[in-house]
Every structure is written in C-alpha cells, then in structure tokens.
Symmetry: C2
Subunit: 413 residues, 2 copies
Amino acid sequence: MHIEVLAVGTELLLGQTINGNAAWLGARLSEEGHEVVAHHAVGDDQAMIVAALHLAMGRSDVVIVTGGLGPTADDLTREAIGAAVGVALDFDDETARLLAARWESRFGSEIPVSNFRQAEYPRGADLLQNPKGTAPGLWMETGRAVIVALPGVPREMEGLFDGEVVPRLRRKAGWVGRRVIRVIRTWGLPESTVGERLEDVFVVDGNPSMALLASEAEIKVRLVADADTDAEARALVEPVEAIVVERLGAAVFGYDEDTVERRIHRLLAERGWTVAVAESITAGLVSHRLTNPPGASDVVRGGMVVYATETKVDPLGVPAELIEREGVVSEPVAGAMASEVAARMGADVGLSITGVAGPGPAGGVDPGTVVIGVAGPDGTTMRTIRLPGDRERVRRYGATAALHELRRVLEQG
Amino acid sequence: MHIEVLAVGTELLLGQTINGNAAWLGARLSEEGHEVVAHHAVGDDQAMIVAALHLAMGRSDVVIVTGGLGPTADDLTREAIGAAVGVALDFDDETARLLAARWESRFGSEIPVSNFRQAEYPRGADLLQNPKGTAPGLWMETGRAVIVALPGVPREMEGLFDGEVVPRLRRKAGWVGRRVIRVIRTWGLPESTVGERLEDVFVVDGNPSMALLASEAEIKVRLVADADTDAEARALVEPVEAIVVERLGAAVFGYDEDTVERRIHRLLAERGWTVAVAESITAGLVSHRLTNPPGASDVVRGGMVVYATETKVDPLGVPAELIEREGVVSEPVAGAMASEVAARMGADVGLSITGVAGPGPAGGVDPGTVVIGVAGPDGTTMRTIRLPGDRERVRRYGATAALHELRRVLEQG
C-alpha cells in the first residue's frame, strides 16, 4: 500500500525535536512491504493538519499521523481528523474511566477535567488502547484513505504501531508478499565513480530498485525487491547484487548491517587476535568506534590517546630521536606508534593515527594530512592520506580511514 | 516570511537516514525570524518532488529543498525544479570548470562526464558555489515563491545556508532590524523542573520569546528578542535572562557557544593546568570531545583507553588487588584510574570513567552504572551515577556526565 506519514508538532518545525518517528515508521513500513511516498510535518495548527490530511488522503491508501493527541489545548489531531473527514467528535466513557484510574494510581489525586479531551474521538474511529501512555491511538476507515493517529512520544508510538497497527495494516492490505532489502557497503570509490560503474544496471523504479547512499566517505548500494515469497524476492536481488559486487570489486567490504567495526571484530575473532589503538589527531574516536558493537571486549584491549608530543615518547614508547628526525606526522612515527601500543596494551595488532586536523598547519605539515599505521604479527604497514574539509571533518573521516586501513590489512593477512 | 522545507531522498522515507537537515533549518530559520510552516520529505521521484514544490509554492514565500543535487541518475532536484517552474535546464561552463579542477586536484584523474550534470541548472536560477563540496546550490525567483536548493550532505548544506542563503533571505524579507539570541546552558536539572521553575516567565510568542532545548541531558534556555537596534534587543533580553539565571542557580554553566568542553579548556588555562583521561566504558569518547575545540593541545595531554581489565593494571597502574577487592566498576578504582592517568601522562588533573554500558550486567553490576573520578592538586573526588537507556546512550551520556563532573570540580577548586 502507499502510505504517508504526517507528524504534528510546532517543536518539529522549530528544530527543537528531530523527527525520528518518521524514520522509524519509514523503516518498519518498508519492512512490511509498503511504499512510503512522503513524510510531512506541520505545527499545532488545525488548518495545516487538515490540508496535509487532504493531500495525503487524495493519493495514498493510509495516512499515519503522529503527535497532537495529548491533553493540552494545542493538541489538535482529533479535531483536525474530524474536520478533514467531516464528522463530529464523540466521547468514549470507557477511555475516560481508564484515564481517571491511571491518573489516580500515578498521582494520587483527581484527574484534571481538561485531560478528558483524550477520551474524544472522530465518529467512526476505532480507539487503540495505549498501555504505555494515556492518549489512545485511532484507526479510522474513511471513504478514501485509512487515517491512523498515534502519540508523538516514540516509546508509545512504537508500542501501539507494532501491537495494534501492524496487524490491521496486514488485514487491510491482504498482502502476503515479502520484501528483501540488500545493502552492499563500499569504501574508497567516489560516489560518482560508483554511479558510473553501475550506470547500465541502475534502475530507480525496477524490481529490485537501486539507490546509492553516501555517508562519511562510505558509499552504500541498496537493492530492494518485492515478491510473493522470500525466495522469489531473493532470486530477483541476487543477479543484480552479483553484477554490483563484480563491478565494484575490492571496494566492497560488507553487506547489510555489517559495518567496518563489525567486520574488524569478525576478522580479529577469526584469528583469535586482539587490537589496541594509538591516536593523536582523532584523540579517542577510533577506539570509541571500535568498541561501539556489543562484545567489543573480546577483541579490543584498549588504547592510548597521545595528543601531546611528549606522551608519544612516554608512556607510549616511540623513540624521541625518531620523532625528532622524521617529524611527528610521518610514516616511521606512525609505524612505531602502532607497534608500541600493541606492546604496551598486550594486543596482537596495533593501529595508529597521527596527523594535522587544523585549522592551521603544524610543524610544517598541512592540515588534512593523516598518517595511519598497522602493526601485527605479519609486519607493519603505513599509509599517508590527504583529507579535505575542516577540523571536525578531518578528524571524523580520519577515524573512518584508520578503521578501513586496519580492515584492509586484516583481510590481506 | 512563510517558509517550507522539502527534503529529497528515498533513504529518508525508508528510515535509513534521519532528516536532521529539516530540524537544523527549522532552528536557523526561526532564529532569523521566519515562520516554518511545514516540512516535507519525498523520494527520488520527479513527480513527487514537483507535487511537493507546487503545494509549497502555492502558499509560502520560500521553499528550501535539500538533497538530490548529486551527480547520479537518481539526483532529480534540478530537473524537478525546472518542471515545476516550467523552464529548461541550462549548462554553466564556469561550474563545469570548477568541478573538473576540483576532481583533478583530488583524484589526479579526469572527471567522469556524468559529473557535469552538476553544472546544469533551471534557467533563471542563480548558482550558489559550494566551497565544501561539488554540487552548487540554487536560488531561483519564480513568479510565486523563491525556490532554494541545497545539497543533502549536512556540512555542505549548513555552509551554503549560512554563507549564501541567509544574506539573500534578509534582503528578500527587507528586514533591517536586529535580533539578539541568548542561550543559557544548564546541566543537572530535568527538563520538566526547568520548565516549572520558569513557568510564570515562559512566553513562547513574547519578545523575547523563550524556548527550552534538550540535548544529551543538557537543557538550554533560548531567548530571542527583535528590535531596531542591538542595544534595544539586548535590553529586552537582559531582565528575562537575569530571572532565568537566578531561578536555575548552580545548574547554569555557560552561555551561547560556551560548551562544557570550552568551559573546561578555559578553567584549565586559567590555572595553567593540563588534563589526561582514563576511559573504560566510553573508550575514547571523553578524550575525543575534550579535543574538539581548536587549541586543545594547550590543555589536553592525552589519555588511556583501558577497556580490558588487565590494561587498568598495566600500563595504567591501578593496583590489581584494589580491582580484585573493590570491583572494576567502583569508586576506589575510578579514583585510582584518575590519579594514575595524570601521573602516566604528566598532567595536573586526571579524569576517569568506568562503568557498564550493557546490554547485560557485568561482574554483578547493572548496565547503566557509571563511576567518574577526578584527581588533581586539590585531591580526588568520585561520583557514582545511574544512566537509563541502551548501550549507545549510556556511553554518550556517560561521557557528558564525566565532562560536567570535571567542570564542577574545577569550578569549585
């Protein structure tokens, strides 16, 4: 089914709240095989809510509204749905009883009368009781689209969606098909090069459809196929996936949720190895990212943040004369940092990163210069790269580059 | 002016990317005194982009489009604007030259021909050159609204918006007054408590207007005043600011861009002190955040990421019997970590954090338990806190709590 998501709340327009509900619903609805055709956000303004409902009802099968179901005067979703569909609001005695009982058990006092607004609903709507909050959700079949209203609090919205809305959507769609989503992760090629290599197989609206997603210099290729069964959907994806993988070659490093951090964990675990990190320019970001996945303690020993030059000598152990001779941002120093941190931390592999984040140059080295070292049982490798952008970007992309350099060395080893 | 924001990208509808651009633009446009009336997001689908443009152009003064300006076949914003306005696409030779030069300096090879799509623009649009990326933005006056197109990459979008779009919007609005924005930063009070203490002075639509912004357990109070001169606008803000500061007391730690990291830098610099960090649970995030502001090397020596328990003993130097007796997540161990890291790194002050991020408990300690230590010339303090949420949130909020604990100790010393 074609579905649109409408978020209600002035705080969204003012940027005080990021609309994470829309992303969450988008992901869940896609998994359920629906096509989300638009997200909207409007303020606590009845005319704007009604206008958005009319637009969405005119072209989609389902409109899911989040927010505006609370007890205060600026919660207008119930009234707006009534106005958009052309029905009056009714009052549900059972909901009112539940609201009063919940208030009393929670606050030990009588419920303020204004809260009973939450027992109102557009005539003809089903109430979806909300175990995690007070405002019930709504499911309303209209002459055109189905309108679903859910609370704006993410925890409540998610609970009601999974518990009450998903089963109703499945019955409504009568759809028994399956959707397969495959994400192919690449590193090291610019987006436009990926696009060119795939140009003749790139079909935005095909089955599978193809899209490129860029984040922090990683380019992902996403394939989405719909079919009656998982096996048929997979059979649609596989030949296209094979072409993508062949065309992008060594740039492909993972699939689906397989981030570079998880890939490194697996490569280390396969060998029974551990890693330690010595960081100057990124000052802890590489270690932090390496420990993001649960279970990190099996493969990550720890690291040293050697921000001041003297700390690279003591406690890390890089010879002072090496730094003096080669400069602190140099391949010999990066190599020594990698092997010394492995020794200090009792790890099998050492990863190091040093460089100049900027804003200005340092020690005669231009900002954006980054040197990465990897020292392991099979030897030490170093690599110098140049990164564009400001201080923050150089540090962030430098950390990503260091992780990929470690992955690359582990894959070759 | 009434403004709508339209984000283009199928990844938004699928929930693979959260639309942070809309929130960022909403906040900035509000600061500039504009009224954001709706956010929209549609996929890489020309008909849907055109429909959204028509809707917004029919009722608002400006439509800001983000995304869809890249070089690949699914980047359709240029074509959609042309179709919505009814003009052909022209080709800008100067942009093409810039694209080619930037590509060559970065990759050392000739630019793929497909990239020249980024030099196309709807006839009549001004090109906004993008110093941080390749795709230029667009500013297009139509018979109805102004259409602005910006890249979807946040860093590029933000730079172009502040550098090129804001001055044009000001000229367009003909606004010659001055706006003063004052942000009062607090830590340690729940949002609802801040709201209650300010209830009688809280005026959303006043001059100054007041808003509460919550991020990572810091609550900011934002005051915005408009007047003919800076002095008049400041005179509107100051009495309200004084009330806010008095009501929130010791929770106030900074103003405007004065983050906790910058505040720590200044407190250390005033004393001529340096800091080093020992991290277990956050594994580098505290060090990384402390080095975010430029000039960090004046006050940050470095740190140790002691993720595996043995690394807390060697190389950090916490006595093994202390860990054995007290447990790795304990105040005595946090205190020893802080003083040992200061000694190892030659710093005046040591900051430490240890804890259990989860998902499960570890060593009999519940996830969310975090212990922070600060060791300095005036002694050592320890604090145990409990943080709600998942692994990632515990780590993020734990790092923020550690920074505030260091700030608190430095302020008292």
